[in-house]
C-alpha cells in the first residue's frame, strides 16, 4: 500500500535553500522506499504560505482551512521530513509556531527526518540541541541522522569527505527503513466513543461505578 510522506519546510525566500534540502531529502527517501518495493507520495507544506494562518490560529484558537488541511497532511502521514533554517541558534519562529498549533499528541510515534540549513556549518549542532528535543517532547521518533546543509555545501567549498549527497542518502535511508518497519498509519477519530471511553465502555465507566459492567 502506498505510503504518504509529509515535508514541512520553513524557508522564507524563493528559491530557498531550505526547500532545496527538503526536496532532496524527500526524493532520496522515495527512491530508497522504492528499492524496498514501497511506493510513496509526498505532500509539501511550505510554511511561508501559511504564516498568516498560523498566527491567526495562535490568536483565535482555530486553524483556517488551508492550515487545517496542512496539519491533517502532517498528522496522518507515514513519515515526516522537517527542514528549517537556523535563526539565532535555533529553528525559526515560524517553524516552532507551526508545531505549536498541532495537537501535542498527534505526532506520537511518527518517524521524522530532521534537516536544517544555515550560512555556516558552525550551526550544525542546532539539529541535536534544539530541534531533536522538540520532537522528543512530542513523542515523535526522529531518526538518528539529522542533515545539516551550510551555504558552502551548495558551492565550491563543500565537504569532500562526507559530501551533502551522502549525508542526505544516509538520513533518508534511516527514514525509509523506519517507515518500512511500520504498518500504514491508521487515523484515530477522537470523536469515536471507543477512542475517548475505551473500546466497548460506557459513560458509566467515567463515573467510576460501572467498572464491572
Amino acid at each position: 500500500m502506498t505510503r504518504r510522506i509529509a515535508v514541512v519546510t520553513a524557508g522564507l525566500s524563493n528559491p530557498s535553500s531550505t526547500r532545496m534540502l527538503a526536496d532532496r531529502l524527500a526524493a532520496s527517501t522515495i527512491a530508497q522506499l522504492r528499492e524496498q518495493g514501497i511506493e510513496a507520495t509526498v505532500d509539501i507544506i511550505e510554511l511561508r504560505d501559511l504564516a498568516h494562518d498560523i498566527t491567526n490560529n495562535l490568536l483565535a484558537g482555530f486553524a483556517p482551512p488551508a492550515l487545517e488541511a496542512a496539519i491533517r497532511q502532517v498528522v496522518t502521514a507515514d513519515g515526516l521530513i522537517v527542514v528549517t533554517p537556523i535563526f539565532s541558534t535555533s529553528y525559526s519562529g515560524l517553524f516552532k509556531s507551526f508545531f505549536d498549533v498541532i495537537d501535542p499528541d498527534a505526532l506520537t510515534g511518527m518517524p521524522v527526518l530532521i534537516g536544517a540549513n544555515a550560512g555556516t556549518a558552525r550551526h550544525s549542532l542546532a539539529i541535536d540541541y534544539a530541534i531533536r528535543p522538540l520532537f522528543a517532547y512530542l513523542h515523535a521518533e526522529p531518526v538518528a541522522t539529522g542533515v545539516f546543509a551550510a551555504s558552502s555545501d551548495w558551492g565550491a567549498h563543500a565537504d569532500d569527505v562526507k559530501p551533502l549527497a551522502s549525508r542526505i542518502e544516509r538520513g533518508a535511508r534511516e527514514l525509509a527503513e523506519s517507515i518500512a518497519r511500520r504498518d500504514v498509519r491508521v487515523e484515530i477519530d477522537p470523536f469515536d466513543p471507543d477512542a475517548f471511553l475505551g473500546e466497548g465502555r460506557s459513560f458509566g465507566h467515567l463515573l467510576g461505578g460501572l467498572a464491572g459492567e
Binding site: 498566527t55 491567526n56 490568536l59 483565535a60 484558537g61 482555530f62 483556517p64 482551512p65 477522537p190 470523536f191 466513543p193 477512542a195 475517548f196 471511553l197 460506557s202 459513560f203 458509566g204 467515567l206 463515573l207 467510576g208
Partner: protein, 410 residues
C-alpha cells in the same frame, strides 16, 4: 407556553473599553446596563437571557444567580439561563441550592448551561487544578443531579468533602430540577455526558468554524439515542451565534469593524472578512443574518435554542439595545417561521419548566415539599419532608451509606 424554538441573548459580561471613544464603562454602569439589556430582550419578544460567570476583571458576573434573580423580578416570561455555570470551580452543593432557589423566585424560568471554564488561574483560586477539569466536571455533575433528585444524599468523591445525610434546600420547584445544557467546544466526553443524562447540548458556535461543533453535536445526537432517550433527532440542541445588524450591510461592517478589530478574544487576529467567512459571525443586513441562521439546521439538525452575542467588545448600551430591537423586530420573527417549516413533528419543543412538570406528573399535582418536624435528623426519623418515603433502617446499620442509600432514592 412551549414553542419549537427559543431565541435570546447571551452575555459573557466583559467590561471592555469602547475603541471608538476610548471610554471604559464602570462596573456599576455595566451591571445596571445588563439589567436594562435583559429587560429589553423580553420587551422585543425574545425568550431567553443567559449570563456568563467569571471571577476576574474585566468581567463583572461573579454572581450570576444574584443578577438573574433581580432580572427575574422585573420580567414575566423571560427564561433565565447561564453561559456558562462553572461546574468545575463551583461547589455542586452551592449550584444545587442557588439554582433551585432561583427556580422558586422566578416561577421556574431557569435553566443552566454547564461549562468547565477555560481561564487557567481561576482553578487554584477555588482550590482546584485545571488538569483535573474533566474528572471534576463529571463527578460534580453526577453529585448535582443527585442533590436535585434525591431528598437525602450520602456521597463520597474525590473533589469535595463527603456528604452524610445531606438535603439540598430548597427542593427544586414542583419537584422538577432545572433543565441543564452541557456546553463544550472541543471535548467529546462532555457531549457524551449530555447524552448519558438525556440533557441538552449547547455549542457556543461563536469562535470556531462550524465543523468543530458539527462533530460534537453529531456525537451527542448519536449517543443520546444510544443511551435510550429517543432518536438522534430528538436530542436537545442549543446554539450560540454572533451578529451585528444594520439596515444596510455596508453600514453594519463599518460600524462593527473597530469593535471586531479590538475585541478581546479574536481582535488583532483574522480580519472581519476572514472571521465572518470561517465562523457564524454575520455582520450585515437583517436578511443576511436570517439567511445565515436559517441554514444552521442544515448543519446541525433541527434544534431548540438560538442565542446571540451582542453586548461585548465595548459596544455601547445604545447600540446593544438597537441590536436587540433589530433581532426582535426583523430577524427572529422570520427565523421562527422559517425554522418551523418542515420541522418534523417528533422533534421536541424547546424545554420549559411547565412542559417538564407536565411530563412528570401529567395532570396530577406536582410535588410541594413540606419539611417535617424531624428536619435535621434525616436518617432515623422518617424523612426531611412530609412526603419523603418512610425510612426502614437497613439491618445492621442506622448510620451511613448502608442505612439510607436505597430508601432515599425517590
Amino acid at each position: 407556553m412551549s414553542s419549537p424554538m427559543q431565541f435570546g441573548i447571551f452575555s459573557v459580561s466583559d467590561i471592555t473599553r469602547d475603541p471608538t471613544t476610548g471610554r471604559t464603562p464602570s462596573e456599576a454602569e455595566r451591571i445596571k446596563d445588563i439589567v436594562t439589556i435583559a429587560k429589553h430582550v423580553e420587551e422585543v419578544g425574545l425568550d431567553v437571557f443567559a449570563l456568563g460567570e467569571h471571577h476576574n476583571p474585566p468581567f463583572f458576573s461573579s454572581s450570576p444567580t444574584t443578577t438573574l434573580a433581580y432580572i427575574g423580578a422585573q420580567t414575566e416570561r423571560l427564561i433565565l439561563s447561564t453561559a456558562t455555570t462553572l461546574i468545575t470551580t463551583n461547589d455542586p452543593v452551592k449550584i444545587a441550592e442557588d439554582y433551585a432557589m432561583l427556580q422558586h423566585l422566578t416561577g421556574g424560568r431557569v435553566d443552566l448551561v454547564m461549562g468547565r471554564g477555560n481561564t487557567g488561574p481561576v482553578y487554584p483560586w477555588f482550590g482546584k487544578d485545571i488538569r483535573q477539569g474533566l474528572p471534576i466536571a463529571i463527578e460534580s455533575y453526577a453529585l448535582l443531579q443527585r442533590l436535585w433528585n434525591e431528598d437525602v444524599v450520602d456521597w463520597e468523591g474525590s473533589f469535595r468533602t463527603p456528604l452524610q445525610g445531606f438535603t439540598s434546600t430548597p427542593r427544586p420547584l414542583d419537584g422538577v430540577a432545572p433543565f441543564v445544557w452541557h456546553g463544550s467546544i472541543r471535548t467529546p466526553e462532555i457531549a457524551e455526558q449530555a447524552a448519558y443524562y438525556g440533557d441538552g447540548f449547547f455549542a457556543n458556535n461563536i469562535f470556531w468554524p462550524k465543523e468543530h461543533y458539527q462533530r460534537l453535536i453529531a456525537l451527542y445526537r448519536q449517543r443520546f439515542a444510544h443511551y435510550g432517550h429517543g432518536t438522534p433527532e430528538q436530542a436537545i440542541v442549543g446554539l450560540g451565534g454572533q451578529a451585528f445588524i444594520a439596515k444596510n450591510s455596508q453600514d453594519a461592517v463599518d460600524r462593527f469593524r473597530p469593535y471586531f478589530d479590538n475585541a478581546p478574544v479574536y481582535g488583532h487576529g483574522p480580519s472581519l472578512e476572514e472571521f465572518s467567512e470561517l465562523t457564524p459571525l454575520t455582520v450585515g443586513s437583517p436578511q443576511q443574518v436570517i439567511d445565515r441562521y436559517a441554514a444552521m439546521r442544515d448543519h446541525y439538525g433541527d434544534y431548540q435554542r438560538q442565542l446571540f452575542l451582542v453586548d461585548h467588545a465595548g459596544l455601547p448600551l445604545k447600540t446593544v439595545l438597537e441590536q436587540i430591537e433589530l433581532l426582535g423586530s426583523e430577524v427572529v420573527p422570520v427565523l421562527r417561521k422559517e425554522l418551523a417549516e418542515n420541522r418534523p413533528a417528533e422533534v421536541p419543543d424547546a424545554p420549559t419548566h411547565a412542559d417538564r412538570v407536565h411530563a412528570k406528573y401529567g395532570d396530577g399535582e406536582p410535588r410541594q415539599a413540606r419539611p417535617t418536624a424531624a428536619a435535621g435528623n434525616n436518617l432515623t426519623v422518617g424523612g426531611p419532608y412530609e412526603d419523603s418515603p418512610a425510612l426502614a433502617p437497613a439491618p445492621g446499620s442506622a448510620f451511613g451509606v448502608a442505612a439510607t442509600r436505597k430508601e432515599a432514592v425517590r
